[in-house]
């Protein structure tokens, strides 16, 4: 029977993978995917804690996180599409016009 810490370690690992993904990848869509990974890592901790404390709050927060994730995905992808129309590229470094 795995302990709470195991779940936490797992989610820590996942979260870091996501974080690394955000930086390593040069494709906006993949970066968004990495963000989703991070979100899910957090969700895992929530569910695990909820289970540990025997409350439903963990799952409810997961519910909210998912809603937010959906919103984020919708808007993010819309932006990606708009960007892709302007330059035929999805590389975030292609969009550095908004600076000094």
């Amino acid at each position: 029977m795995p302990s709470l810490n195991d779940y936490l370690i797992l989610s820590a690992v996942l979260f870091t993978i996501g974080t690394a993904g955000v930086f390593v990848r040069r494709n906006l869509i993949t970066i968004l995917l990495s963000v989703e990974i991070m979100l899910n890592a957090v969700n895992l901790t929530f569910v695990a804690f909820g289970r540990a404390f025997g409350t439903v709050d963990g799952q409810i927060i997961v519910f909210f996180v998912m809603t937010v994730a959906a919103a984020e995905a919708a808007v993010g992808l819309a932006i990606v599409i708009a960007l892709f129309r302007h330059r035929e590229s999805l590389n975030p470094d292609a969009f550095t016009a908004l600076k000094w």
Binding site: T19, V22, F23, P92, D93, F95, T96, A97, L98, K99, W100
Partner: protein, 683 residues
């Protein structure tokens, strides 16, 4: 409720004329304005009748229109209140106001439509503000009217704004009034601090029950400040200078605002707070002295002025001085009475002079008039009666009121003031009849070519020329003007009889009528009996001591004084006749012999010059050299620009952070997260 309608009608008239006046024909605009005034007069009349029906102790009608300001425990309601005093005022304002409106319809007829509408909109606005002033039941509402009439007076004095002198006069009036209003506001604030209220009634009640030692300092100061406001509004020394210049406005305006109504606001205000002032004897003394001084001073100037309207203006100042004298000696009734009669005959005189100017195509210099007696019969007779009234010839309005004042002064024991008053009334008679004789009697003295032209800056030019071309058949006042003149003449003859003194077998009805307004509210006074009844009684005593002494001194003295003053009046007229009719040379010779004094008088004692040198210039110089060139440019602008520039410079540095690379932002975000997290782990 009806009270609101009284100021509302003129205001509506104002709105109509101000908004769509340009598109209205003259007759339409004029009739709108007149209708508004007449309607308001009707309402005023009905409400006063209703008021008279009420029992003496509760003789007032109050209407709270809306709660205006509420902050903490302080609330100011927009409340209108009619009591005997304000009843008298609204009747005068609406009544004479209507007449003057009617008069104006034909007087201003040469103006282009838009100007015409503008004129009437201003006039209506003035009326409405004036009514608010007298109807307001607390200082705040009164102050609204107070400032409002100031504004209208400014607008109307500068009505011919294309004329430099006119606009200057407007500004002068406005600024001088500001000085007075400043004092007024301070006084109001002080009263509020002292009594925690701005309602006339409450303040009066509280003050009446206050301990004398409490009242001593604060009340004197507060009332004094209020009086400063009054001097501004009612053209007393030292702030009278604006009124003579105000004659730049159209003559009916001078009649309405600068003779009948607005300038008496100060007097009214003092009457309104009679209780307060009675509790501040020092202030009363000052008021009395200032009043008397102004009366005399202005009278002397009036003797030598040559502009028909300026003479009247100075006489107005001096009559106002009379009123303040009355207030000062605690004869509030007398003061208000004089205010009321004066409204009639001074309006009449102004309108008469207006008729003359109208007939002479804008000629205002009496040296170029004369011999109009037969040309302008109506004007002449009405003007004559007005002059008799103001001179104080027995049987006419002025006689009773002026006499009342002098009598009260005398029995108040202020001998010097009484003498000054007498002298002034002598002068009054003199300069008034100088005016009459020079204007209407003798030969027609035409203006030297071009001079007349210069004199009439009014819109009368077009119809000025033909008047000059064949000056023989001048036309007398047209119907509306004639109507107004005659109505006012009747007024000036009869107005006095409501205040017929006991001595002449009349029971001074006016005094009875006004009493409730001038004494502390009975209920509260009664409540105040127990702890500090003494001052309350004192207050009543002070307010009514005229009556008591009336018995004390006795009718004999009063009669004697009347006789004396009538003699004085006749003497004055005689003097005028002696100098200006029987042999005009005499006046010249006298003028020669006292040339120095004459020039001084002609230049109004150089007061304007003194003010200019002592007040205006220093302020101008300091604000130009110091405030503008140093404080504003270096200090304020420097601060503003400095802020802007420093922010800009900082931005120059900070914007380097904006690499525009999403990943960089994310990195910084993560860095922050890592550091915060690390901190919590580490500590």
């Amino acid at each position: 409720m009806m009270l609101l309608l009284i100021p509302l009608f003129p205001f509506l008239g104002f709105l109509v004329n101000a908004c769509i006046g340009k598109r209205l024909s003259k007759s339409a605009a004029g009739s709108v304005a007149v209708a508004a005034m007449v309607a308001s007069f009707a309402v005023a009349l009905t409400s006063v009748i209703q008021l008279a029906g009420l029992p003496e102790e509760s003789r007032h009608i109050t209407q709270t229109v809306f709660t205006w300001i509420t902050s903490g425990d302080f609330t100011a309601n927009f409340t209108l209140r009619v009591d005997p005093l304000s009843a008298l005022m609204i009747l005068v304002i609406t009544g004479i106001g209507s007449l003057i409106h009617i008069y104006s319809t034909s007087y201003m007829h040469e103006e282009p439509d838009s100007e015409y509408a503008r004129y009437f909109s201003y006039l209506n606005l003035f009326a409405s503000f004036m009514l608010v002033l007298v109807l307001g039941s607390n200082f705040l509402v009164m102050f609204v009217g107070w400032e409002g009439v100031g504004l209208c007076s400014y607008l109307l004095i500068g009505f011919y704004y294309t004329k430099k002198s006119a606009s200057d006069a407007g500004k002068k009036a406005f600024i001088v009034n500001r000085i007075g209003d400043f004092g007024f506001v301070l006084g109001v604030l002080m009263l509020f601090v002292t009594f925690g209220s701005i309602e006339f009634q409450e303040i009066a009640a509280k003050a009446a029950t206050m301990h004398p030692e409490l009242t001593f300092g604060t009340l004197s100061l507060a009332t004094l400040l209020l009086f400063v406001g009054a001097t501004g509004k009612s053209a007393q020394i030292p702030l009278y200078v604006w009124l003579p210049d105000a004659m730049e406005g159209p003559t009916p305006v001078s009649a309405l605002i600068h003779a009948a109504t607005m300038v008496t606001a100060g007097v009214y205000m003092i009457g309104r707070n009679a209780v307060l002032f009675s509790l501040a004897p020092d202030t009363l003394m000052i008021i009395a002295v200032v009043g008397a001084a102004t009366a005399f001073f202005a009278g002397t100037i009036g003797l030598v002025q040559n502009d028909i309207k300026r003479v009247l203006a100075y006489s107005t100042v001096s009559q106002l001085g009379y009123m303040f004298l009355a207030m000062g000696v605690g004869a509030y009734t007398a003061g208000i009475f004089h205010l009321y009669t004066h409204a009639f005959f001074k309006a009449l005189l102004f309108l008469g002079s207006g008729a003359v100017i109208h007939a002479l195509a804008g000629e205002q210099d009496i040296r170029h008039m004369g011999g109009l007696k037969d040309k302008l019969p109506i004007t002449y007779w009405t003007f004559l009666i007005g002059s008799l009234a103001i001179a104080g010839v027995p049987g006419l309005a002025g006689f009773f009121s002026k006499d009342e004042i002098l009598f009260k002064t005398y029995e108040g024991g202020h001998m010097i003031l009484w003498v000054v008053g007498m002298l002034t009334s002598l002068m009054t008679a003199t300069y008034m009849f100088r005016l009459v004789f020079l204007t209407f009697w003798g030969e027609r003295r035409h203006a030297p070519a071009g001079h007349g032209h210069a004199a009439h800056g009014h819109g009368h030019d077009d119809h000025g020329h033909d008047a000059h071309g064949h000056g023989d058949h001048l036309h007398d006042a047209p119907k509306p003007m004639a109507f107004a003149l005659i109505a006012l003449t009747v007024g000036s003859i009869l107005a006095g009889y409501i205040g017929l003194p006991h001595a002449l077998g009349g029971s001074n009805r006016l005094e009875k009528w006004l009493e409730p307004s001038l004494t502390a509210p009975h209920v509260v006074a009664a409540a105040g009996e127990a702890p500090a009844g003494e001052p309350a009684v004192a207050a009543e005593a002070a307010a009514e001591h005229g009556e008591e002494h009336g018995e004390a001194v006795g009718a004999g003295v009063e009669l004697g004084l009347m006789g004396l003053s009538s003699v004085v009046a006749l003497t004055g007229i005689g003097l005028a006749w002696f100098f200006f009719v029987s042999d005009p040379k005499r006046s010249e010779s006298v003028a020669q012999s006292f040339s120095g004094l004459r020039t001084v008088l002609l230049n109004k004692y150089y007061v304007d010059e003194a003010y200019n040198a002592g007040v205006v210039q220093p302020i101008r110089v300091t604000s130009e050299q110091v405030l503008w060139k140093v404080v504003d440019v270096a200090g304020i602008d420097g601060a503003v620009n400095g802020t802007a520039e420093s922010v800009g410079g900082l931005a120059e540095l900070l914007r380097r952070v904006q690499t525009g690379s999403v990943r960089a932002y994310a990195a910084s975000l993560l860095l922050g997260a890592v550091m915060v997290f690390g901190y919590y782990l580490w500590r």
